[in-house]
């Protein structure tokens, strides 16, 4: 994945922004925040507190969680005033390899 020394930009510069998106930290998750749209009032408390930029919002509406990157800390569910997010064990959702 990392190129040979002749092909890397000099000095360890990363010229392209936000490439960490390609790195899947969702793998780390033991608990999964499950979103129930019906209970959500779009207060965006989950969004303002998420440490991993994983609350998906479209047109000012909370639409779900970025499971590719969510590490399952549970802050969103813990702080949600309407219990629209609930933490459930990850194994319930992952297929066995």
């Amino acid at each position: 994945m990392i190129k040979g020394w002749k092909d890397l930009p000099i000095g360890g510069v990363l010229p392209e922004p936000g490439t960490s998106e390609k790195y899947n930290t969702g793998e780390w998750r033991a608990w999964r925040p499950v979103f129930e749209k019906d209970k959500c009032v779009n207060c965006m408390i989950c969004w303002v507190f998420c440490p991993d930029s994983c609350i998906l919002v479209e047109n000012e509406q909370m639409v779900g969680v970025d499971y590719d990157h969510c590490k399952g800390c549970g802050i969103c569910a813990h702080e949600c005033p309407t219990k629209a997010l609930e933490m459930k064990p990850e194994y319930l959702f992952r297929e066995e390899d």
Binding site: P17, F49, V57, E60, C70, I75
Partner: protein, 326 residues
Amino acid sequence: MAQVNASEVKIPPLKKLTNYPEKLAPGHRLCAGCGASIIIRQMFMVANALGYELVIANATGCVEVCTTIYPYTAWRSPWIHNAFENAASTIAGVEAAYKALKRKGKLPTDKKIKFVALGGDGGTYDIGFQALSGALERGHDFIYVCYDNEAYMNTGIQRSSATPKYANTTTQPVGKCSLGKPQHKKWMPEVAAAHGIPYVAQVSPSHWKDFFEKFKKALLTEGPSYVNAFCVCPRGWRSKEEEGMTIAKLAVETNYWPLFEVENGKWRITHRPRNPKPVAEFLRKQGRFKHLFKPGNEDRIEEIQREVDKRWDWLNKMEELTNREE
């Protein structure tokens, strides 16, 4: 640029802020429940709303290490890491370059750019203290943001001068002859304020409205600002990941982490808990203070309470003193 009246600049409601791009991309490798990335995201929320581009110099530490593991970067803003102790002098160089190049007409003039130095408490209170003090004294146009998680977390929970008394750390651990760190925490924002800089604030991401207002003021301030941000560290504090913001709220509501600002020499407490809770409620949530709750150590908790009260009183006096009508 003329000084802008901060009260005239309104930050839109949260919903509106979701329309701006995330400048801290997901996929960084900070711990689950890390407070630092919440602080950084909230900084960007304000900068986005006000149309500022942030150029960031990051001290060595958790954030630096976890956001830029080659060949990945979580940053969608210009970002530089130089060393542990020199975020303030690095950003001073960047800011100087900006001034010089702008004066020479080599940069576009339509961009609103603000320079931010970002460091943990180790890189701020301790090893970066000299560079920070120098940069504040010289008056560079920048914001220094310290995400204070009260120990060297990147390297495994070593004590810093930001570590509170009796916290358990790996370099001053609890043992038969030790109850953890023997000294109280340094009052860093007060030290920053003693430089006579235009703006100093202490914030907590749990109180995001207060955070937004203060970061807005820092953005609008010409010259140096210092922002001390409460940063939960579930791993270092041995606290529950999901309770990060709850603990942060408790830090504020117990007056352990008073929210205040110093604006052009005027001290102001920005949030007064109606009935401050005992500090024990804040301490109890964290494994680093577990030993204090064993029988016989009650007076130690009282001692921490007295330190909290002392600082709170001191801040109240400063507020009174600096706002008195002559």
